[in-house]
Symmetry: C2
Subunit: 332 residues, 2 copies
Amino acid sequence: MVTMGDVARLAGVSKMTVSNVVNNRTGVSEPVRRRVLEVIAESGYHLNLSARTLKSGRTGVIGLAVPEVDRPYFGMLAARVIEHAARRGFHVAIEQTGAVIAGEVEAIAQSHNLQLDGLILSAVVLDPRQHQVTDGSIPIVMLGERDFGAAFDHVAMPNEEGTRAATEHLINRGCRRIAFVTGDDLEGVNVVASRRRGYAAALAERGLKADPALLVTSPVMTLESGRTAVHRLVGAGAEFDGVVAVTDTVAQGVLRGLADHGLACPRQVRLVGFDDIPESKYLVPSLTTVAPDHGWMAEMAVRLVVERMADPARPTAEYVAPFDIIARESTR
Amino acid sequence: MVTMGDVARLAGVSKMTVSNVVNNRTGVSEPVRRRVLEVIAESGYHLNLSARTLKSGRTGVIGLAVPEVDRPYFGMLAARVIEHAARRGFHVAIEQTGAVIAGEVEAIAQSHNLQLDGLILSAVVLDPRQHQVTDGSIPIVMLGERDFGAAFDHVAMPNEEGTRAATEHLINRGCRRIAFVTGDDLEGVNVVASRRRGYAAALAERGLKADPALLVTSPVMTLESGRTAVHRLVGAGAEFDGVVAVTDTVAQGVLRGLADHGLACPRQVRLVGFDDIPESKYLVPSLTTVAPDHGWMAEMAVRLVVERMADPARPTAEYVAPFDIIARESTR
DNA sequence: TTGTATGCGTTATCAA
DNA sequence: TTGATAACGCATACAA
């Protein structure tokens, strides 16, 4: 391997001069700079980032911990975060937490070992009331789901507002018996609880009764759980003319479940999701959904991490992403 | 920051002994080991990976370059690669190439700077005949798409075999006018060309004519391009009773396009995709598809990278993933 | 404008 | 079984 010293020797200068050239610092005469760059090109020299890191204590790597990158929503998030991080000169190492508490705790713990400069954690199960996760050694930004109070910077989804708007949208379309298909952690501080509050609030506002038979929960929020939810509703003889799904992925499963029972959407049952994943527009019927501004969220998360690196003492901030209701065929 | 030296001092031993304990090496007496571990726990010491890297020249990071992580297929791939790499003690840094040649070349070039121990490159546009990409400084495994001959280890998709089987499946179901919806780089050494060969081979084998009007190409392979392809077929007055889509994502777009024109699938047009992304099972109608073994591919790619680290001289190998045809509603 | 000395935290080598 | 020393490649401080 060719080192900075080799380049210095070949160019007939000192290591320091090479370092200055490599780092684009001033104070190097033009002829010397050219000579050094020549030698670098010829020799195939590459700066050793580990050595620089050892000196500076910074790796230039931001961790992104998500449940699984192959869930559409988190894949989308990862793509945006990688983009915005690159724009600021950072690389992204992805950790998969598996949506289990141990995985999310581990992601924080590992951030030391991995020498991350910062961590963006999309926690979905970690409960701030039950787990002491205050780390403090590197900037951690909580993304999207759980609210850890003022302990961390937090970029939140418009969970409650979004679901309320979605539910209102169904009501405006004439639905009166609206089911809510979601996860089962209704008590915690989490996306499931917040979105359900929005659903309940909209019903209450419009004077509709929240029928417990129309609340279908399951431990996971997947395509399969959405499908199964419909099977359960129909199996229990529940009457419903609208469904609010906790995510687009679940909604897609619901669509499948409706098809299994020959229920036409939107004619017999209208459906609305949450996230606006890329596929939603192409489903048959295309899916009405709550569309938070994902690019905005990713950019903000990266920005908060980077800014906190510069100023660790800054008070934590909480941002809620803007959103739109995208009306499509599933609620026509 | 607490260093190995600090731990050594606190434990009353040498740095080397601490290192031996941290690395689980033999030759440390039990009492000393316990004492050191105690101090480590108390002091909150964490091994500095950069320093280790500086010594060893290894980072423990494998790069994974994919077009975009938010495409379902590549998200799936990334998830599997991360899993298998973790199993072998490696972390994964994801690069997004944007499916452009410059991005793919850049990924290789950057692998130096990022101090990657290896690179898994899912190239989709880089053409081995036109670009000199032989690097040699770190192990590079080509994944899935393009064939670089013996220059790199290669884990291939069963492109030709898969599409042939898919096309045969349609013929067996009674289709006689089968369209192929794909990308437009039909000449290169790539997934588009191979899959088309499989399509053509199946038609030829069964004595069906390949009507050029039924070959619909577009520069990209997306949900939108699938949808548009159907619009173009119908707009041109083409008659077709089956569609082979180059990927499941494109197939999903095709499904949408069929719906736009009131064409019933599978009654009027049968459809088959390629990849078996998680969503395919839940589409309405559920999608018949060629299902390569993605876990197998990811595992093999990681294995090849890691093995080549150990033995850079080993001749390159080529593996083709096994696959199944999953018959679902879209070809019922 | 350029060079020298020193140290970042770890590990390999060799000696004790 | 343990310890001392010398690197790894770079950047900081300071001297020339």
